[in-house]
């Protein structure tokens, strides 16, 4: 029913603060449907844990698939084997080097990509001419796979960190650009008219009207961009890397070590999720509405 649709979606948008005060409100009303002054442990407190449910279920399935022999251990190592490999690397300290350098590359690359994407997105979102000039080119470049860039970046930027960070930033650039440019072009005309009538000036219009209005789009773009930064890491770490999770993955493939392959995939997933939570956290700070 429509009512259900709304209820659920409604709930998903209410901030915790609102939830809390609503509950307080009905408790004060002391009407029959309220359970008195005892605070009902809110289900929302356990909600974050729900997210663990599906992954855990997948691990169980994975374990079952290996132990029942659907996949042989040399094809897909059992979860414990992967955990042991990761633990071994962690204990020897080797893991942290890989994680640290990859995090650094992703952070720098994503940061750069986001900044440049924001600039270009703003430009093309605001100006029809800039959009006509740049958008077709950028839309074409968008579709070039990370691996295709590798030889060119090697040629242009050599084998150092620069090449890696720049390659990652290429990945992060496009979602930011695409979302922001579209978002800015879609900012409510009525609000732009307000900015014009009150002579806010170009910079102030951007700061007070355009960016806040396009912020949700920018944030989706940033989440997508950080995701792509992680995707580009493998290609970047094919450029003369001897450390990093992407290197680990390539190495695992070269050495036919499925435990390392799966371990690095898990690292990607885990760190990717962490970075996503971090981006959401930043968003909540920024939006803090």
């Amino acid at each position: 029913m429509a009512a259900d649709t709304r209820r659920e979606s409604d709930v998903s948008r209410e901030s915790d603060a609102r939830h809390g005060s609503d509950a307080g409100g009905s408790a004060r009303a002391a009407e029959p449907r309220t359970l008195g002054p005892i605070p009902v442990p809110s289900a929302s407190r356990f909600r974050p844990l729900l997210g663990l449910f599906v992954p855990l279920a997948l691990v169980v399935v994975w374990h079952a698939l290996v132990t029942t022999g659907v996949f042989a251990a040399y094809q897909l190592p059992p979860p414990l084997r992967v955990a042991k490999t990761l633990y071994g690397m962690a204990a020897s300290g080797e893991l942290w080097g890989h994680v640290a350098i990859t995090l650094q590359r992703v952070a720098l690359g994503a940061g750069l990509g986001i900044v440049v994407g924001t600039v270009f997105g703003t430009l093309t979102g605001l100006s029809r001419t800039a959009s006509d000039l740049l958008d077709p080119l950028l839309q074409s470049l968008k579709n070039i796979p990370s691996l295709a860039w590798v030889p060119l970046f090697l040629l242009w930027f050599g084998i150092g960190e620069t090449a890696k960070v720049l390659l990652i930033s290429v990945g992060a650039f496009f979602p930011v650009y695409l979302n922001l440019s579209t978002g800015i072009a879609a900012v409510d005309e009525e609000l732009l008219e307000v900015a014009e009538v009150y002579d806010l000036g170009r910079v102030e219009s951007l700061r007070r009207v355009v960016f806040p209005a396009a912020l949700p789009d920018l944030l989706v773009g940033i989440r997508g961009g950080v995701g792509l930064a992680w995707m580009f890491v493998v290609a970047a770490e094919l450029i003369a890397a001897s450390q990093g999770i992407g290197f680990l993955l390539s190495d695992g493939r070269a050495l036919a070590r499925p435990d390392i392959i799966v371990g690095s995939i898990l690292l990607f997933a885990f760190l990717g999720n962490c970075s996503d939570v971090a981006v959401k956290e930043v968003r909540n700070r920024v939006v803090g509405r």
């Binding site: 009512a3 609503d22 409100g25 009905s26 004060r28 009303a29 009407e31």
Partner: protein, 278 residues
């Protein structure tokens, strides 16, 4: 009223002296049958803003009630609660005997204070949103009904326009037409004529009266226009401002069709205005 108001709410019943307890007592109609809308000690707060505080109201079947009150006193909030859009409030609110918290009733239609049109749809589609769910909007009778409504609100020729091509008052009339298309047994109207000029407004008021009489709709109309309130309603409920409580209820016992210049109406208008004055 507001007898068990929360401590942080200033009691505001001071000038509500002449207020009859509105629940099925003052009005002769409503005492004859179970009220269609029964609001009992309704309290509603948003975080630290108390919007409504101990509101009692009973609206009988086929009754036409107008609600007036200062800006921000909780009129829209009252309609939202009645239509089942608010999940959290204190007190009891029932439509046709069913608690609104249990899903709300399909029988209630609402015209919002803002037009709330679908930007991407033309006027015809927007009005068709209001058609009852068992009506296929593509069927010829449905289309005809929609086009009739568009004509009734004075927008013939604009059926294919998009909301951003309409003036403020035109958008408001589309929203009104959408509400009428729903043909609910209880119609809640939130300042539906506020953006209309005198003549258009008078036309729409009369049309609303026609619908009300023909279809036996129960109507709750929020308005700032006291003349409109007394001209249309059986009863005018005056809310006092922030937090909203019922300050007074004015019965309009004048036969229809009424004359806008009728002396009794003018007197009642003064009475409502006085009740509104702080």
């Amino acid at each position: 009223m507001s007898s068990d108001a929360d401590a942080d709410v200033t009691p505001s019943s001071a000038d509500g002296v002449d207020a009859a307890t509105p629940t099925g007592e003052a009005d002769p109609d409503s005492s004859t049958a179970d009220p269609v809308l029964a609001v009992d000690d309704l309290r509603k707060r948003y975080d630290d803003t108390v919007a409504l505080d101990g509101v009692d109201l009973a609206v009988a079947d086929e009754e036409f009630v107008a609600v007036v009150g200062p800006s921000g006193c909780g009129k829209s909030t009252l309609l939202r609660v009645l239509s089942g859009l608010e999940a959290e409030f204190g007190g009891r609110v029932a439509v046709d005997g069913t608690d609104v918290r249990d899903g709300g009733s399909d029988a209630v239609g609402m015209v919002f204070q803002e037009p709330r049109l679908l930007d991407w749809a033309d006027v015809r589609e927007n009005v068709a949103v209001g058609l009852p769910s068992d009506v296929d909007p593509a069927s010829p009778p449905a289309r005809e009904r929609v086009d009739d409504l568009i004509e009734t609100v004075g927008l013939d020729g604009f059926a294919e326009s998009r909301p951003d091509e309409l003036s403020g008052g035109m958008a408001q009339r589309v929203s009104l037409a959408r509400g009428l298309a729903y043909d609910p047994s209880v119609l809640l109207l939130d300042e539906p004529f506020s953006a209309l000029d005198r003549l258009t407004k008078a036309d729409q008021q009369d049309h609303l009266l026609d619908v009300w009489e023909e279809r036996g709709t129960t109507v709750v109309l929020v308005t700032h226009d006291v003349e409109e309130a007394v001209y249309l309603a059986d009863r005018v409920v005056v809310l006092s401002g922030q937090p909203g409580t019922v300050a007074s209820v004015v019965d309009v016992d004048i036969d229809r069709p009424r004359d806008r210049a009728d002396a009794d109406l003018v007197a009642l208008r003064r009475e409502v205005t006085d009740a509104l004055g702080r």
